[in-house]
């Protein structure tokens, strides 16, 4: 069993079961199939890298969507 890691997700602390890939994170958040964009520590994580890039302890993650606005 990998050790749990702690990240900051959309500004709130969150514990994950281990160094998940971004695909696994999206699944964990019930966001699979939804149009989202992800930033890690201020850098975009392209969707093409979701399968192999892994989260690391202390990562600051932003997951955003499009909402109504002017």
């Amino acid at each position: 069993m990998p050790a749990p890691i702690r990240i900051v997700l959309n500004g709130a602390p969150r514990e994950l079961p281990g160094p998940l890939t971004f695909t696994q994170l999206i699944d964990e958040l019930s966001l699979a199939g939804r149009r989202v964009a992800v930033e890690r520590n201020g850098e975009i994580v392209p969707r093409s890298r979701f399968g192999d890039a892994r989260l690391a302890e202390g990562d600051r993650i932003e997951v955003v969507i499009a909402v109504g606005g002017g």
Binding site: L31, A37, I65, V67, G69
Partner: protein, 270 residues
Amino acid sequence: MNAPEKVAAEDALVVAGREYRSRLLVGTGKYRDFDETRRAIEASGAQIVTVAIRRTNIGQNAGEPSLLEVLPPSRFTILPNTAGCYTAQDAVRTLRLARELLDGHALVKLEVLGDPQSLYPNMPETLAAAKTLVAEGFQVMAYCNDDPILAQQLEETGCVAVMPLASLIGSGMGILNPWNLQIIIDRAKVPVLVDAGIGTASDAAIAMELGCDGVLMNTAIAKARDPVRMARAMKAAVEAGRDAFLAGRMAKKPYEASASSPATGLIQKS
């Protein structure tokens, strides 16, 4: 094709090399629900719609429809904005996320605000953000104040459109300084769109009569008593204003009446 459509097709709004029939751009905020959003936007005839980029509510939106399902990018040009950003850095980050969200889409609305009361643009930060974004390949439509020099600087930075305010965002105060807008319109080589401050249909018509290339609005439609009907009114106003601009208004003749009916052939006692 009937005549009015033909006129519209010939008089396209061109932004970043792409042609649009509609010169009305609309925001998608402040509606009661997605159904009202969709119906109002359909009625407006808008082809470019603005959206905001926000954090997902983790664990709270599974199964809910999303805005981009209601307004699919296959049918609309989605214009992500940076509303709520107060620094160039936040605006650039937001639009990089937007580009990723929209599969590499480059056309964006930049707005960097100065303070939360006035929502007046912070122009030094707007210019700094525009410079970075243009260098990264974004096509930037920039919300700005109605200063002709700053509008020109945005254009020189490489913005594809400048979007001066008519009055404060969401105020519905209409066009407070048509003279400044006129100077911006006369000088600009990129499209000038009035963004912010439109309250009712006549405001949109006046903007277009001044020679604006388009009008962007949100609250005037969303906060009307009947948003769908107001969307229809705005569509008509933008088209009427554009036609009036192209037709060229008659000269104003103060203190000089001119009868429309013949002055001769009157029945009268002689």
